[in-house]
Amino acid sequence: MTPKSAIRAEAETLFAAFLAAGAVPVDADILLPADTLLDLYGEDIRARAYTTQDPLRGEMMLRPDFTVPVVQAHMTHGAEPARYAYLGEVFRKQDRPTTRPSEYLQVGYEVFDRSAPEQADAEVFALFARLLAPLNLQPGTGDIGILMAAVRGLSTTERRKAALLRHVWRPKRFHALLDRFAGRAPMPAARKALLEHLAKDTPQALIAAAGQFVGLRDADDIAFRASALIEDAAAPPIAAPEADALDQLLSISAPAPQAMARLAGLRNTLPWITDAVAQLGLRLAAMKAQGIAIETLPFATTHMQSTLEYYDGFVFSFHAADPSLAPVASGGRYDALTAVLGQGRSIPAVGGVIRPGLVARLKGNT
């Protein structure tokens, strides 16, 4: 076990480096209201965060990460552009026996800046790469924005695109939906039977025939989805070339220049990814200017796809050679999250966290 004092010292060093890079220190409560986190992350957060009951404030959670309180603090009284650094404990429940700690320090750096997102992306990544350089970690990068752009432009109904976008962070479900919308998977028997039943009469008549009405989800909700289902059944499948190109896009995992070339090749079939791919090009150039060896930098379209669902652009991580360890550092861009927490206002944001516990441990081994 790495002594706590060594971890704390490592955390202070990293924190000082973030301040030296121009960040303002920001503090956050450890007890956070559960409703904001639940609304944002869904029920999954209850499996990962410690919840407790406050006699007056209701359900509270022990801080599972800093992103929400830092974004909230910025949206309430932040100047622009802003750079923040924080240092403190986060708490993650472990449901299975594991060597991963349930309480550990995080040091983070976040940039809120409206100008040139590629510069902010490169700044955060280069800062992390420089601080972690002595550990010889394996970097990984990706861009969820490219995947989202690819879905948004598909020649299919808005409803199908919304369904795919909603499940971008759940790869298994995403693929199942894509297969169905592209006509590559047969319609499930249950859906077929449902459609046959819905074709028999008006939704209102069928609802009345189904028995006594109970619940808050009312006849309008039901009729709306019933007609959406019928409409969807009549919609033509996503054309095979588009669906295939989307598969290829999802399978890209290569050094950045090769990944870039493959993405460029897909622009013929998916021309609507052009802007997102251009943004990747700008980012790579900005990273190169910051001294990053982009020729060997790994890029995968689906990198960190199945993390908590708030990254919507550039994502990155730094891993140790031991695959059982959590990433030493990770982060990404979360523009949409600021809109959700900003109550009408939003600002492009990118940032990441380092686990000083792992840094200290890896340094101790060498």
């Binding site: 026996p97 479900r173 499930p188 449902l194 189904a210 619940g215 808050l216 909700d221 989805r225």
Partner: protein, 236 residues
């Protein structure tokens, strides 16, 4: 060797019958209201009468060696349950399914896939996540995560769960059912792929209990009870 058995009702009687027909006679002490009992037919056995819901915790703590309870309760209440208890026998009673049910009037929802889509639309229109009432939080959440259902929330309901939809405190429920009659009476239907777990009364052994002396007792009664202890290193 301490054996924990549900302390009342039909479940207790069926337990007594199961052990009794295999040569171990269990009975409550003479004062029927006292939660103490006796086992005849083998020496060194102690009967502990407990609430069925407490038995998983008592097993996990190693305070009883064997215990009878539903595998739904074990899997819900114990994190990483298989590391804490070992199932020795299905007892063939107390059968019930943990299921997800929605109002019968939901003519557009028959599967988890439909539930997911309905939850997304519900959240947009009503401004909060679709509520599913249950007391089986761990099992339901794991199940829905595996199925890729999003935009729902669990609300706690420790009893009369079928009534929560009519009372407008939930839109759907996840609960134990055997015949489905209570569901139908409350205008609910089970999703076609909404069965989370098939449960029944099960005899469990506690991995962390002190088996030094109890091991021989169990080996003695195992043949009569029809238990196979093969592969359970902590019992052999």
């Amino acid at each position: 060797m301490k054996i924990g058995v549900p302390s009342k009702g039909r479940l207790m009687e069926q337990c007594f019958d199961w052990f009794g027909s295999r040569g171990l006679t269990m009975r409550k002490s003479a004062d029927g209201r006292e939660y103490a009992g006796h086992i005849d037919g083998a020496s060194g056995l102690e009967l502990v009468l407990l609430s069925a819901g407490e038995i998983p915790y008592e097993l996990a703590a190693g305070r009883i060696h064997l215990g009878v309870t539903g595998n739904d309760l074990v899997q819900e209440k114990l994190a990483d349950w298989a590391a804490q208890v070992a199932p020795l026998a299905d007892l063939g009673f107390g059968q019930a399914d943990l299921i997800i049910a929605v109002p019968q009037a939901w003519i557009d929802v028959d599967t988890l896939d439909d539930l997911d889509a309905a939850a997304a639309a519900f959240r947009l229109r009503h401004g909060f996540r679709l509520r599913i009432a249950t007391k089986y939080h761990r099992l339901v959440r794991d199940f829905l995560t595996r199925a890729g259902v999003a935009d729902y929330q669990l609300v706690d309901s420790q009893g009369a769960t079928e009534g929560t939809v009519k009372n407008l405190t939930a839109e759907a429920i996840a609960d134990i059912t055997s015949s489905g009659e209570t569901l139908r009476a409350n205008h609910l239907k089970i999703l076609a792929d909404g069965r989370i777990l098939q449960s029944q009364a099960t005899l469990f052994a506690a991995r962390s209990a002190d088996w030094t002396l109890a091991r021989a007792r169990l080996q003695q009664v195992a043949p009569a009870l029809g238990l196979s202890l093969d592969g359970l290193a902590f019992l052999s």
